[in-house]
Symmetry: C2
Subunit: 197 residues, 2 copies
DNA sequence: CGAAAATTTTAATCCGGATTAAAATTAGCG
DNA sequence: CGCTAATTTTAATCCGGATTAAAATTTTCG
């Protein structure tokens, strides 16, 4: 079977998912240049070369990690929007979900620190998705301002601040459940507090 | 003259400072593995090998960039503390200063994305400084809670959120003065708003 | 069981960029 | 002007880790 995702087995996909998580953990903790494919492989009880059965190379691995991160962010925002409510409600719910994703079972989400070392096509794709996500969140903020549930503010900059706070989480969170609990409680509360009318 | 900083000339120090800024810009924009010493050298109109006249190697270059980032953060916090006032006043002033540093003449401040690829000694030093800075900021928050100028909150987590928002700035700020103006206005305002009693 | 497909390993190769050494150029100064 | 130190370049070398190819092992399933 080719490593492309065409006729992929369940087992294959599972292992690939585990690979992405292991890679995300390594990249977050050891940095991009600091993690060799061997490091990632060891976490799976494999040899470095075996990784190439699941992925085309290191570039591709980072790219997939970032796609996964983008997927999760988007999923959380979509879910929050689906659940409805005021702009405030949606924003708050999104923060709860995304912070929980960072700190919970969703496993480590890769920090997008090495976008520039992607191929131009991959880079553009990731950047485009980031932009879309930011714009979507800004739209939620704008909606909240319109419906009176949020105070008037510069949605671009406020969004930057909030996203930064969330995106930075993997820098200091390393799996301690007690810390996770604090984060899930405090982050949405503090970040939303500054948005109340 | 050795490349150590003992009997360094004014001109030498200036060039070294320019080197650090160029490196910080490269690291922020192209990532660590994505920037070769040649990239940095070109910005200074030099050849890659010439860099070794000013610095021991790439490791050292990252380390110095991070030390510079730590210096700036510390300086801004110290200055805010010196100017006095309530906990609220100090925290707000610190944010104004640090955001302005990120967006202003202080030049690009390196994102600490590659701490793990430092030597163990350098890594420990940088991490220690980060910790101290975080603790100092938390102390400011605690002071504000005590003097009634800030609402009661989990200072550790709230600090994490605020630091994250600030540390993420280089990810989206690329020198546009109009954007800088927005950031300097909006960031302190939004981040402090959530801390009012 | 046994053959074909899937998975992993072993053992090279390969390569870009870091690093080094020595030579060349430039700048300060008696 | 000529000497010395400072600065930069040219031209290797060096090396770790990515990548590849082929072989070995394991799994699947008739």
């Amino acid at each position: 079977m080719t490593s492309a995702n065409s006729g992929a087995t369940r087992a294959f996909d599972d292992k690939r998912e585990r690979l992405l998580r292991a890679a995300a953990r390594c990249f977050n903790e050891k940095g991009y240049s600091g993690t060799s494919l061997k490091d990632v492989a060891i976490q799976l009880g494999l040899t470095d070369a075996a990784i190439y059965y699941y992925i085309a190379g290191k570039q591709e691995l980072v790219y997939q990690c970032y796609m996964r991160a983008a997927d999760i962010g988007q999923r959380m925002l979509d879910q929050a929007i689906d659940e409805g409510g005021t702009g405030f409600d949606v924003a708050r719910r999104y923060l709860e979900l995304h912070v929980a994703a960072h700190c919970g079972d969703e496993g480590p989400i890769a920090i997008m620190s090495e976008i520039p070392s992607l191929t131009p096509e991959h880079r553009e794709e990731i950047l485009a998705r980031s932009r879309v996500h930011s714009r979507n969140f800004e739209a939620v903020l704008r909606r909240g301002i319109d419906d009176g549930s949020l105070t008037d503010c510069d949605v671009r900059m406020t969004g930057n601040a909030i996203m930064g706070a969330v995106n930075w989480i993997p820098k200091w969170f390393h799996g301690d459940p007690a810390v996770a609990k604090d984060a899930v409680r405090t982050f949405p509360e503090y970040l939303m507090r500054g948005l109340k009318p």
